[in-house]
């Protein structure tokens, strides 16, 4: 792979000198959540499906990793479950915001900043709602 960049010249030291703002944070978090779901999420999803297809014993072994003997989720189950849910809703909210940016809308400073902050609020509210529903169902 040809490297045409002159390595003697400095790269922009962007991350280390820029003051953090909501738009920048959303962009970075979009990449982090996307990369996280694409790796950890994909492996767990395929493992889950493969275990299901292999039969009840293999599926039980998979489920045991994330549950207590009572059948309720263990710490790993909560961390992975809530982590992936929050990642998805965050990625979804910033993805939808990005579709508006793609057609040239929402570049005014005020609106751009407010929608950036809104993606975090939406992700947290949807994650809390989703898990409240799941836990309510399993306890009720």
């Amino acid at each position: 792979m040809a490297n045409v960049r002159n390595s003697a010249r400095p790269l922009s030291p962007h991350l280390s000198i820029w003051k953090w703002g909501p738009s920048m944070a959303v962009s970075i978090v979009h990449r982090v959540t996307g990369s996280g779901m694409a790796t950890v999420g994909t492996i767990l999803f395929v493992w889950w499906l493969g275990a299901l297809a292999s039969g009840p014993a293999a599926y039980g072994a998979f489920i045991d990793l994330f549950t207590l003997s009572s059948g309720k989720l263990n710490i790993a189950g909560y961390i992975v479950g809530i982590g992936l849910t929050l990642s998805f809703f965050q990625h979804m909210a910033s993805g939808v915001r990005h579709l508006f940016l793609d057609v040239g809308a929402n570049f005014e400073l005020g609106g751009n900043k407010r929608t950036a902050l809104a993606t975090f609020v939406i992700a947290i509210v949807l994650t809390a709602g989703f898990w409240a529903f799941l836990l309510e169902k399993s306890n009720g």
Partner: protein, 129 residues
């Protein structure tokens, strides 16, 4: 064509005329991901239990198995493009080449495993495994 400066090497080559292709496909798959993943989360949340029999019976229905296969195609296509962009942005030289190659193997292997598993559950649910 010049050989000295960076500008000289690319001057006159013109556009590759395919720059927007990947971007557009990323947007199309983003739209289908939105619908399919929300459907999946809602369906899983509404399942009465999470034991092997319940989930197999759910996946045995065409209205669950087919959207889940579509989800695999759409989401895996989308993350392949997304991770490609991330690798291209942060990795250079040989690492970029190796990581892009590994990403392709990873995507195709996991997608095949996922789709085969869904089909196997769909076609054999209820039968003794």
């Amino acid at each position: 064509m010049g050989n000295g400066t960076e500008l000289g090497r690319v001057r006159g080559l013109g556009s590759a005329h395919e720059g927007a292709h990947g971007w557009w496909h990323h947007k199309i798959s983003a739209g289908s991901n939105l619908v399919l993943v929300l459907w999946f989360m809602l369906s899983v949340a509404l399942l009465p239990a999470y034991d092997h029999a319940t989930i197999s019976a759910w996946l045995a229905q065409p209205w669950a198995a087919v959207p889940l296969i579509l989800l695999v195609v759409s989401v895996f296509y989308h993350f392949h493009h997304g991770l490609t962009v991330v690798i291209e942005d942060y990795q250079h030289d040989h690492t970029r080449f190796v990581l892009l190659l590994l990403l392709k193997y990873f995507t195709i292997a996991t997608a095949t495993l996922a789709i085969f598993s869904i089909l196997k559950i769909a076609f054999t649910a209820g039968a003794t495994l």
